[in-house]
């Protein structure tokens, strides 16, 4: 093997310019793919983290049928107290959960005593909510990053439209599920930056205030947001919780709960999928570049060395060894491209990271891009290129190994 490798490397260095050009092409392809994967991956994970850590949580539980009519914020589909208690006892036994927060969501009228408009509100227990979506306070543009009784966080667009500032008194009027109307005065504690996605333009108030405004005698819950210790376990936890809660049924035998992962609750999931599809196609392009360039070089190499192949075949080199000789040449070419490409890509990613490039996403401004590449992505791309390089050299190598020595020796 060592001798074969030595011959392969020497044959590559024999046509320096051609080897350099092909290796450069592969290097550029690898760099392009790795930088794209790192930048798009970092963009994707940053946006996912923004969405899950400031609004959604990783998994949500609702009363069955709630999400289908979430636009209306139906109070009649809230989880009643016994169901919430049951859910709390189940969630309390799940080790992967870091925190969870019950929310009462409702729509109402927002008045600054001069004008009135519609508002969507989340009644939350601030401590539990901040542990479940820790980036929520970071969306406070002006005002306090805490939320007490009698206080309200108002979304930015609404505050601007209604000319409301921190410290101003406002009134919230809401209809409860029986149809009776109630109003309650609040002090604006903060103006909240809007975020992309569902709930990104909602206001927040204390859970107790929400219950009072809706005149709920016993606690009811519209949704429960769950934060996991490890985001990567979201899928497996979602499936486990779904099967666990499917066992909880009403006296009529209908399941009470429905579970949703973050992907099902945000349209950004489609963008994330699109990024994955783009990454796949860019990898496909890299495969095509490697395949065509290496196959071209190896076909040339076989053609130029026909007499040499005839000689080594005549003196008794077995066809398998001749095949290995050329496959190793393709492998080396791919490996050189991969090594240089990885090195160059890591340097570029490092420089991009240091540059602290900012971008806007929807209403979120100045998000800092911090591209990283996982060892798994490096490994997958490298393996893919090397395997394609080997595959591309197979056809010319098979041709070389099947040459009749007598004909090859006669080649001029």
């Amino acid at each position: 093997m060592g001798k074969l490798l030595k011959i392969a490397v020497r044959n590559l260095s024999r046509y320096k310019r051609r080897t350099l050009l092909t290796a450069s092409l592969i290097t550029l392809g690898v760099v392009f793919v790795l930088v794209f994967v790192s930048v798009s991956g970092s963009f994707k994970s940053m946006i996912i983290s923004q969405i899950t850590d400031s609004m959604l949580g990783h998994v949500q539980v609702h009363h069955r049928g709630y999400v289908a009519s979430i636009d209306n914020l139906p109070l009649n589909l809230n989880l009643p107290l016994p169901a919430w208690k049951r859910l709390e006892s189940i969630l309390g036994q799940q080790p992967p959960i870091e925190a969870y927060s019950p929310r009462v969501k409702f729509g109402g009228l927002f008045s600054n005593f001069a004008e009135t408009t519609n508002i969507r509100l989340n009644g939350v227990d601030p401590d539990r909510e901040f542990r479940t979506v820790p980036l929520l306070p970071s969306r406070v543009k002006t005002g306090k990053k805490t939320l007490g009784r009698g206080e309200i966080w108002v979304p930015e667009l609404l505050a601007r439209g209604m000319n409301v500032k921190v410290g101003d008194p406002v009134v919230i009027v809401a209809t409860n599920k029986d149809g009776s109307v109630n109003g309650k005065q609040f002090i604006v504690a903060a103006v909240l930056e809007s975020a992309t996605g569902p709930g990104g333009r909602d206001g927040y108030l204390h859970l107790e205030d929400a219950l009072e405004t809706l005149r709920m005698e016993a606690m009811e819950v519209s949704e429960v947001a769950i934060r996991l210790k490890n985001f990567r376990e979201a899928d497996s936890f979602f499936r486990r919780l779904e099967s666990l809660l499917a066992l909880e049924k009403s006296p009529q035998g209908i399941p009470i709960f429905e579970v949703h992962s973050w992907e099902k609750l945000t349209p950004f999931y489609n963008i994330a999928r699109m990024i994955e599809v783009m990454t796949f196609f860019i990898r496909l392009m890299l495969i095509a570049v490697v395949l065509i360039s290496i196959m071209n070089v190896m076909i040339m190499a076989v053609y130029e060395r026909i007499r040499e192949i005839g000689t080594i075949a005549a003196i008794g080199t077995l066809p398998g060894k001749i095949l290995s000789m050329f496959v190793l040449e393709g492998f080396c070419l791919g490996a050189i491209g991969v090594a240089l490409g990885n090195l160059l890509a890591l340097v570029i990613i490092w420089i991009l990271d240091l540059s602290r490039i900012t971008f806007d996403f929807g209403m979120q401004k100045d998000l800092v891009l911090s591209p990283t590449i996982s060892p798994a992505d490096l490994l997958v791309t490298s393996l893919m290129v090397v395997l394609v390089a080997v595959a591309a050299s197979l056809q010319p190598a098979v041709k070389a190994s099947r040459m009749e020595p007598i004909q090859a020796l006669r080649h001029v």
């Binding site: 060592g2 001798k3 074969l4 011959i7 020497r10 044959n11 024999r14 007499r307 040499e308 005839g310 000689t311 080594i312 075949a313 005549a314 003196i315 008794g316 080199t317 077995l318 066809p319 060894k321 020595p405 007598i406 020796l409």
Partner: protein
């Protein structure tokens, strides 16, 4: 027992529409340790015959046994194996591997054909390089040495596996006469030292005289067999 036995060997091939009878019922036997030459003008069938004996081609008719093996029964892979184990080749154009040094070219059949572990054949390679007078050039590449030197390296490469038979097709055709004599002398010396059988083809009458047995071919037929010190028609 004869090392090479050919019985009524014929070889025909087509070039376009034309059928060419390169060899016609050629029969001969070559004893181990002989220094044999096939002579004849261009197109007489020398190269075709050497290709058949070298298991690089198969006859259209006839029987051919080398070292007791019916080489016509060998498939492609077995032929390659047989060549690697029993035969050595010296080519008219030297055919050294350009990316390997002189030493590595000689070592090549040991490592790549016989699968000798690296290092084990070193003594054998060095002995042969010394014998062909190329020890000083052992680290040079083929494009850094002369034609005569390349052919010396080719002789060493052909002998490094200690084959029973070495075949040389016009080994001196690309050399000047002085160098040609040197190479033939070297082959004779190697034959005496290693008891290897040499068969070479040539159309150079001055070189022919160096052979112990001379077969003359004309138009694909064996016309004459001449033994040094006596004469016998074939």
């Amino acid at each position: 027992m004869s090392l090479v036995v050919a019985e009524k060997v014929s070889k025909e091939y087509r070039t376009g529409e034309v059928l060419i009878r390169a060899l016609r019922e050629v029969s001969f036997a070559i004893e181990p340790g002989s220094f044999v030459s096939f002579v004849g003008p261009s197109g007489s069938g020398k190269t075709t015959l050497l290709n058949l004996v070298g298991c690089l081609d198969k006859p259209t008719e006839g029987a051919l046994r080398i070292a007791g093996v019916n080489v016509l029964s060998l498939d492609r892979k077995a032929s390659a194996s047989f060549r690697g184990n029993h035969l050595g080749f010296i080519f008219q154009d030297f055919n050294l591997i350009p990316v390997l040094t002189v030493y590595e070219n000689v070592e090549y059949p040991l490592l790549m054909v016989r699968n000798t572990p690296p290092g084990e054949g070193e003594k054998r390679v060095m002995t042969l390089l010394e014998a062909v007078g190329m020890i000083a050039q052992k680290d040079k590449y083929p494009d850094q040495i002369s034609g005569g030197q390349k052919q010396r390296v080719a002789v060493a490469r052909a002998l490094v596996t200690h084959p029973k038979l070495v075949l040389a097709d016009e080994p001196t055709a690309n050399l000047d006469s002085k160098t040609a004599y040197t190479v033939i002398e070297l082959m004779k010396k190697m034959k005496d030292d290693l008891k290897t059988t040499f068969i070479f083809s040539t159309h150079d009458q001055k070189i022919v005289g160096e052979a112990e047995i001379i077969y003359t071919l004309a138009d694909g037929e064996l016309m004459d067999r001449q033994v040094k010190g006596g004469r016998k028609n074939g």
